[in-house]
């Protein structure tokens, strides 16, 4: 599983480097493209070596040990589920910021996350107020920054 993910990642790096090299080659000014072109070529070559190391079969020596890896697989699956859940919360939070703005998204995110993970109503509310107060106090009041209002509220004319 890990090896496959690593291989995909290396291939993604190589693909990105090819696009970068193609983009840089189209530039006319040598001074502008020289260093990035050298670097993207170096990364491409290094990634190709890493890919070869990753996919070529390694010479096997010693004895083969058969072991029951059911527990290990179950642990990996559970860990993956945890990562997926945390990742989805993060993506949801960023989407919330985009649509509802920083203030509402922070409030919703902190409250719903803490509440859904076993924290009581009161504690969740206190944490939400604390985080909102901190964010608004420092960035809104002290620094005088306009916190992003969100697409929905901008569209509604607020």
């Amino acid at each position: 599983m890990k090896m496959r993910a690593d291989t995909f990642f290396i291939m993604a790096i190589m693909g990105t480097m090819l696009v970068a090299i193609w983009d840089l080659l189209r530039m006319e000014q040598v001074y502008a493209k020289l260093v990035p072109l050298i670097l993207s070529s170096v990364v491409f070559v290094l990634a190709a070596v890493a890919l070869a190391k990753s996919v070529l079969p390694k010479s096997r020596t010693g004895t083969v040990v058969f072991r029951d890896d059911t527990d290990e697989r179950e642990e990996a699956r559970s860990s993956l589920r945890g990562y997926m859940a945390a990742g989805l919360w993060t993506i949801g939070f960023v989407l919330g910021i985009y649509l509802l703005g920083l203030t509402v998204a922070i409030g919703l995110f902190v409250f719903s996350y803490t509440k859904s993970h076993g924290t009581g109503w009161l504690m969740s509310a206190i944490l939400t107020v604390f985080t909102l107060g901190f964010a608004y106090g420092i960035f809104g009041l002290a620094l005088g920054m306009g916190l992003y209002k969100g697409l929905l509220f901008i569209w509604l004319g607020y």
């Binding site: 001074y31 260093v35 670097l39 170096v42 859940a85 993970h117 924290t119 964010a135 960035f139």
Partner: protein, 500 residues
Amino acid sequence: MIIEAFAKALQSFADPWMLLFMCLGVIMGLIVGILPGIGPIQGLALFLPFAFVLPANYALPFMIVLEAVSATGGSVTTVLLNVPGDSVNAALLMDGFPMTQKGEAGRALGAALTSSGAGGIISIFMALALVPVIIDVVLAIQSADLAFILLVGIAFIAVLSRGSMLKGLISGALGLLFSGVGLQSMTGLPRLTFGSDYLFNGIPLLPLAVGLFAIPEMISLAAEGGTIAKTGGVIKSVENVAEGVKDVFRHWGLWLQSSVIGFIVGILPGIGGGGATFTAYAQAKATSKNPEKFGTGCVEGVIAPQGACNSEIGGALLTTLAVGVPGNASQAITLGALIMLGLVPGPAMLSEHLDLSFTLLLIIVVGNLIGSALCLFAAPYFARVAFIPSRILFPLVMAVAFVSVFAYQGMLDDVVATLAFGVMGLATRNLGYNRPALFLGYILGGLFEQYLLLGIGTSGPRLFLRPIVVTSILIIIAVLISGTLKRMFQHRSRKGSDQA
């Protein structure tokens, strides 16, 4: 003459109002350092109107101290949450946060704060020693030399860090390439922007730092549950802080070596704190008897970058005063403040106004002492963060991280970029890529390119004959060969023990 000027500089600290404004600067510096997204530049910009109404002899110490102490504040969030306040704190990520995970947050904070505070003090003595020769030293170093010195630092981190050397090199080179995105300062041409307006100014620092380091750690914490500290307890925090302070004295040689490196890198124009701390870390690992411990949460990996982080400011200020070339944006503001006072930094500053130059250096030292002492007293309470359950810490840190990222430039695109870098950070973290090397490459890449192209422009192919360039290339080759040999021996010894 030097001693007389130094004594005169000491006298200026008899003014209680100056000390009061220094204390205010320390507090503000710590606050802006602890908050990710607000660095010393934003802090200075925020208080610039306030500083203008003050008499210059109070405004200048306030501003210098604010800048000097912010790195100390940043080390707190770096150790506890893996959130570097600024690029100068990034090297601390490698062992500071792993120590917190081992339940040694107090010890890490104690060592980090003592090392950085003491590093600031030693820089004044180094400055005293270097005043007579500083101008010659700075003017003897050319652009090409600086480019290859930077490359040595990146090669050290890429090769000597834990894990695969190949992945370390890919990470370092990727970081260098990241710094090339956007408008090139020398030609004004956009590169690798793929038509995106957002990338015209390059990849911004804070979204990359938060995405690479903070987001992956927080997602892992939420996925695995529990607390950041996997072992230990809150009760131990106070003793741990004292233990960390003692660690610096136990490893005084390492601290001194790192502080000297920090000071020397500080003198080199433009490299900055990030380069200084990473170089000190790499050197500490290369000279250690137990290099395999680095990256797993060893105290030497905390002492080394922190020893360099504040001594670098002393070196950078000395160059700013001697040559009149600011090393970074913060030093540029200090330069502006000096001009506001009617003083023109340059060679005359070290001859006609030597006492004032020493006063400025002493302000950094005293400010660091006050800042480190304040943080040391508060460290046991800070350390408790490591024992907050993930169900509370995850939403709080994520909320503060994203609002800080937005505040950085007031752009929603930064929030989206942070998420994208977060995905990349998670992949590189779990697949064993070298995130610090990537970040260091990114920090130093712009300067590397600029110095290299300037070197090619002025010297042509002859730049490869310069002694510093030749030495740097030889060091890089030696580092690559030693890294390969070390891994070969480790592989063989593992194979041997398996067969046995």
